[in-house]
């Protein structure tokens, strides 16, 4: 899994072989085919020569050139998902926090009930009967404003029933303030609960200390007991690990969190922090790719023999590869998804709260279409460099907007290396467990 295997050579395809024979990923449409060795040779020659004309001609010759219409920005996209920075304050002081210890570099603020209800109405009222919308509670630490969180949830639930709209709820929390009553509340409303945990024990404590410097790991696990032991099937509990150079012990972390009972565990590299602290650099990302690959090998071994192993990065990658997900954006930020600040202003996502350049409107007047159109046009992967020449552009989408704007694209080799490994794993599981892939592709 070196850069030489996955570096972009031609923009139209990527060749891979995970031990089940040669395969090709066709970028447009994210199409995956098994190909005969003699055909692979032709594609390999064109890629080695970096000959775009020959590469395009080969795709056409073998009928693999499918036009999927990704050139245009999508235009005005209706709002279907909103995050509420319900508490722009936090009781932890994580070194790398994009929200700068919760307050986004400004004064600590709690979202008022009035603003939270206006945000809910903006979202639910704009949806048609039968549609699904999603409300995410973020911060800071959202449970620092429990009263408004609950009030907004109940307001959304009631309003959704009136209008025939379905609402999904999620919360990302540091876990330190969860009470048994919260667990009951989350289960009742079918929350997807994500807890930020950066490792096991002292590893976590180094990165995610309390404001007073005290460790938090044991406290978080104690607080999560009601969620882990008594949670209903209606609720989903995930662990999210932000990977920095100081917690590169991913297989152990994954095993431990899965054994604790989390429904899924996912890793995300710290690529851009406000102070530069704990950002991942080149060799760190190489080490992370090795560890992610080790995690994926555990995942594949278990899934291959029918044992669940909820390693979120692998599950998501396989789902997207099997579906052939192809998109010119990394996520829905600034499109169907907006982040609302405690004041009720709308931003391209939760990470851009307080960034006036990425302000998209407010919850009372809604999304400003001109700003949204400009954002979607600017951020389209065809306008990103070096993305437009990369085979992975429609699986990656160009990388997190916030990280790219903050730091550029230091992780392309890591992303391509991970996708390459997942493509190889996909080809193997496609032989061994096709029914698993079909089942997974139907889920969200």
């Amino acid at each position: 899994m070196t850069a030489t295997v996955t570096e972009p050579r031609v923009r139209g395809y990527h060749l891979f072989d995970g031990g089940t024979g040669p395969h090709i990923l066709v970028s447009e449409g994210s199409l995956v085919y098994a190909i005969p060795p003699e055909v692979r040779e032709l594609f390999e020659d064109a890629a080695a020569a970096r000959d775009e004309t020959a590469a395009s001609a080969l795709l056409a010759r073998f009928g693999l050139d499918v036009s999927v219409g990704l050139d245009e920005a999508p235009g005005e996209v209706p709002l279907r998902s909103i995050s509420l920075a319900i508490a722009q304050t936090c009781n932890l002081s994580c070194t790398y926090c994009y929200a700068e210890q919760g307050d986004f570099g400004g004064a600590a603020k709690l979202m008022s009930e009035q603003v939270a209800h206006a945000a809910v109405e903006r979202l639910v009222d704009d949806a048609a009967a039968g549609e699904q919308v999603t409300i995410a509670f973020l911060g800071g630490e959202p449970l620092a404003n429990r009263r408004v969180l609950r009030s907004a949830t109940e307001h959304a639930a009631a309003r959704a029933v009136e209008r025939g709209v379905r609402v999904g709820y999620s919360i990302t929390t540091n876990g330190t303030l969860v009470t048994p009553d919260d667990a009951e509340f989350f289960a009742r409303h079918g929350f997807a609960v994500t807890v930020s945990l950066d490792g096991v024990g002292a590893v976590h404590d180094r990165l995610r200390p309390a404001r007073n410097g005290r460790p938090t790991y044991d406290r978080v696990l104690r607080r999560l007991e009601p969620l882990l032991s008594e949670r209903r099937r209606t609720m989903n509990l995930s662990a999210r690990v932000t990977v920095t150079p100081r917690n590169l012990c991913l297989p152990e972390t994954l095993d431990e969190f899965i054994s604790l009972g989390f429904d899924s565990v996912g890793f995300s590299p710290m690529l851009s922090s406000p102070t530069g602290a704990d950002e991942m650099a080149g060799t760190d990302l190489t080490a992370m790719l090795e560890q992610m690959t080790a995690c994926a090998e555990r995942f594949e071994e278990r899934v291959g023999s029918g044992v669940p192993y909820p390693f979120l990065n692998a599950v998501n990658a396989l789902r997207e590869i099997h579906r052939g997900t192809h998109r010119p954006y990394p996520c829905g930020a600034g499109a169907g998804y907006m982040g609302a600040s405690a004041d009720g202003e709308l931003f391209a996502c939760h990470r851009f709260v307080g960034d006036d350049e990425r302000k998209m409107g407010d919850v009372l007047t809604g999304v400003d279409p001109a700003r949204q159109l400009k954002w979607l046009d600017d951020r389209h992967v065809h306008r990103q460099q070096p993305c437009s020449g990369c085979w992975a552009r429609y699986l990656c989408g160009g990388g997190c907007h916030h990280e790219v704007i903050g730091r550029g694209r230091p992780a392309c080799d890591y992303i391509r290396g991970w996708l390459h490994h997942c493509l190889c794993m996909y080809a193997r599981l496609r032989e061994k467990r096709p029914e698993y892939l079909d089942m997974m592709a139907r889920g969200r």
């Binding site: 199409l31 995956v32 005969p36 003699e38 009928g63 579906r323 052939g324 996909y426 592709a441 889920g443």
Partner: protein
């Protein structure tokens, strides 16, 4: 050389078999239902009722499941008359010739996708179906309507997808009647649907007093000596088997409206 094999879902959707033109992918489908050019969607209705198999175009029970209850087993060969109170096999009446008196033209099956549109919404429920052996004897049997679409990952309003239910057709059934599409269409689509290549009425002679006289283009016997009388009697007409097996002998070039010319001559 081994084939290029589509592995993921978008590749399967976009797949073009070697040698096939671009117009052979599902996305370029011409959605002609009778029988269609890529799929014969009439076949979807054959197994719409659990326990029995219908003809794709006629309200006739062709087969029953081995494990069906006795009252269902007895339905083989019977005609389905009504479904949930709506007729699917009806007597057609009208004039046999222009200006003629209205009379019975026999019984015909209604086209399934229109006739059964209402019961699509009753998937999973039982509906009352009336059958006959062709005599006056009729019997009612309740049959469960199968799912038309595969269920989605979630219940409630997401319970349906756009994927046709696997219960409705065995692999290959949606295309099995397409092996001879043009022959199928030449028989199925009359009523001046076609341009010159498949006329309805040939060898026509006009008479000021009596109007026109000529042959049905599908008439078996249409030589210059054959009396010119337009017939719709099935016994007089070419059937699927005739035209599939021997179209070269049975059909002629239509030149200036005539196909009763001497085939050995010029």
């Amino acid at each position: 050389m081994e084939p290029i094999a589509p592995r993921n879902l978008t590749a399967q959707l976009a797949y073009r078999a070697r040698g096939n033109p671009p117009g052979t992918t599902p996305a370029s489908s011409v959605g002609n239902f009778y029988p269609g050019l890529e799929l014969d969607l009439r076949n979807l209705w054959r197994r719409v009722f659990a326990g029995i198999e219908l003809h794709e175009a006629v309200a006739l029970v062709l087969a029953v499941d081995d494990d069906a209850p006795p009252e269902v087993q007895a339905l083989v060969g019977e005609i389905l008359l009504t479904v949930d109170g709506h007729p699917v096999w009806i007597e057609v009446t009208g004039p046999r010739e222009p200006g003629g008196a209205s009379e019975s033209l026999g019984n015909w099956s209604l086209e399934w996708s229109n006739a059964l549109a209402d019961i699509v919404h009753k998937a999973g429920q039982e509906v009352r179906c009336t059958f006959t052996k062709g005599d006056d004897d009729q019997q009612d049997v309740s049959l469960r309507v199968r799912q038309i679409f595969e269920p989605g990952p979630e219940g409630g309003e997401d319970a349906r997808t756009a994927v046709l239910s696997r219960e409705l057709a065995q692999p290959g059934e949606l295309t099995q009647s397409l092996c001879s599409p043009w022959q199928n269409d030449f028989i199925g689509c009359g009523c001046y649907y076609w341009a010159a290549s498949r006329p309805d009425y040939v060898n026509v002679e006009f008479d000021e007093a009596d109007g026109s006289r000529g042959h049905n283009w599908l008439q078996r016997d249409r030589t210059p000596a054959t009396p010119k009388f337009y017939t719709l009697r099935q016994a007089d007409l070419l059937q699927h088997a005739d035209i599939i097996a021997g179209w070269e002998d049975k059909l002629s070039f239509v030149l200036k409206g005539r196909d009763d010319h001497d085939r050995d001559g010029d």
